[in-house]
């Protein structure tokens, strides 16, 4: 077990090294940050001096080693445009994205479970057919189109929901890091459209997944046995079948939430939502190299860590779920 964990951790570190190297190797290609820092009137000489001062002219490996050394001390560089440690900039933008993803996840969970379970139990009912048809349509509509339509309909035409941004936020811990929109009505209103449009990508997927898992579970021997034991229908569906459906779905949910983080780039762009995805695109456009690399490393480490933890956890759970579970 211990050796397994060590191996996974080493793998994780390797992956992150590769990602940081990739991120770093593109740095000179993404544009010159100095141009964004100075007005258009500044002479080339002065810009060159600034580049020199920022260490942008050093050889590649000098810069990379410096970066690694600093990274070990938790310093991923300084964002040129925000004039703050890149890590801090990322952490300040993270809450917005996290709240968006959580909101979307909540919506997904709230709707996909009842709908998925229902359409597994009554596959021929009208509601199930409607749900399935709707979910096929749902996966076929690009999220940015959904978002645009939402803005047009709810914000511009009906004036019932705001069109952009986070609205009123409250500093959750009083240190400026976590500006939350969850505690004001205004903030929640702002959250609604982005969350729903973000949820619209994953919801159909989950309805289908839950439905097919549930249907599969309903066909298993142990459910049949539960019937044979004379348990009530409700108990069989909601206790026996549902719990078994839950396990694989929750696992997939974990992975998909990660993928949802990527989709926030699209939603955040349309809604001008000041989260990490928005920051990421902005950093690309404004050539904030340090921020970009830091972001890549952070994202990579989050994924690698989550993956590694899930793997390690799975190796504990595995026999429980796998041997006796689905074929």
């Amino acid at each position: 077990m211990f050796a397994f964990i060590i191996r996974r951790v080493i793998q994780a570190i390797l992956v992150m090294l590769v990602i940081s190297l990739v991120g770093f190797s593109i740095k000179s290609n993404i544009g010159d940050p100095v141009r964004d820092l100075v007005g258009e009137r500044v002479t080339p000489e002065e810009r060159a001096q600034m580049a020199e001062k920022l260490g942008l002219n050093d050889p590649f490996f000098v810069q990379y080693t410096r970066f690694l050394k600093n990274a070990l001390h938790g310093d991923l560089g300084t964002s040129f445009i925000y004039r703050k440690p890149a890590l801090e900039v990322i952490f300040r933008h993270a809450p917005a994205t996290i709240e968006l993803v959580l909101g979307a996840a909540l919506i997904i969970a709230l709707f996909s479970f009842p709908l998925g379970v229902y359409s597994a139990l009554y596959p021929r009912s009208l509601l199930s057919r409607f749900t399935m048809g709707f979910s096929t349509l749902g996966v076929s509509i690009p999220v940015f189109l959904t978002a645009i339509m939402f803005i047009y309909l709810f914000a511009v035409t009906l004036h019932i929901l705001p069109s952009y941004g986070r609205g009123e936020t409250i500093d959750l811990f009083g240190n400026g890091y976590w500006q939350t929109g969850l505690l004001t009505i205004d903030g929640l209103k702002h959250l609604l459209l982005p969350c729903v449009s973000l949820a619209s990508i994953m919801m159909p997927l989950f309805i289908r997944l839950i439905r097919s898992e549930m249907m599969e579970v309903l066909e298993t021997e142990y459910i049949k046995y539960a019937w044979a034991k004379g348990l009530s229908t409700r108990r069989i569906w909601l206790v026996h079948a549902f719990k078994n459906t839950l396990l694989p779905v929750v696992t997939v949910f974990g992975v998909q939430i990660g993928i949802m983080f990527a989709f926030t780039i699209l939603t955040e762009t349309v809604f001008q939502w000041q989260g990490m995805g928005f920051m990421f695109l902005d950093a690309i456009q404004r050539a904030d190299i340090s921020l970009l690399i830091a972001y890549l490393v952070v994202v990579a480490s989050v994924f690698v860590v989550v993956n590694t933890v899930v793997d390690i956890m799975y190796s504990f759970i595995n026999p429980t779920v796998r041997i006796a579970g689905t074929k």
Binding site: K224, Y225, T233, N244
Partner: protein, 332 residues
Amino acid sequence: MSHLLQINDLEVKFALRTGDITAIDGIRFTLDRGEKLGLVGESGAGKSVTGFSIINLLSKPGYISKGKIFFQGNEISSYPNEKMRKIRGNAISMIFQDPMMTLNPVFTVGFQMIETIQAHREISKANARKIALEKLKKVHIPSPEKRLEQYPHELSGGMRQRIIIAISLLTDPAIIIADEPTTALDVTIQAEIMDLLQELCASDNMALILITHDLGVVSQVTEKIAVMYAGKIIEYGSTDQVVKHPVHPYTEGLIKSIPGTLIKHGEDLVQIPGMMPTLTNIPPGCAFNPRCYLKESICTQKTPELRDMGQGVQAACHVKQRGNRQNNNEAG
């Protein structure tokens, strides 16, 4: 007087998109309290379907299209689901084939036992637990207290089947339907489980329907036997008589296929040529006729009915009489 269980002309069909398929075609048998019946046949013969139709648990497209099932004099085949639920797992319990897949992997053994009792009795959790423990002891499970807290995957196959048997005992049923209870188990454990079942039936005066493809097992356990072929019972009678003096060429073939001793495993029907027809293309007349060495023209025209062949044995064959059995038996 009425039998404990009486099945009259049961017919089960599967509704498919292409039309209905008959899976069980007019079978009947009876079972009395404490009696043990073996339901024998190849897979696909309709044994399991028969078992499930008794507790009205046919899988989705299947339904009882004709016939009646009486349990303790009541016609249970027409019971609505909720009424039937009170009989399932209560008066009639069932033991499934594969203990590895029968228990729900995400609940503890205790949970699954207690919920069964509580589904049928108004009883506290603590009392239900006591009953569960008692039944676990009855099926000779070591350290039963510990088992209640364990998950199925922590237990061996034999252990699980014992637990399933214990579960079927929880409500002191009148009948246990055991569907191939030992097929998925190791040879050594098979015998133990069969012994246990016999022992329990004897001590609690329970009736047993033992569904199996293994004539050897049946011959040792049950008093009555019903041999099924392509959805029909083709021979029915006391185990002793049927095994010693089979009438139907199929039964005969089954017995012959077990060379020497009857308790030899793993050898199936090597001597009967051909395969059992699938339900969609059952030949006209006697379903067995393409494989039968006694085939006559009538066999392809008329479906034989179960007839009394003497000694309490019934068989469905146009050709064979009980008289000429000895020769055939010895020919093996």
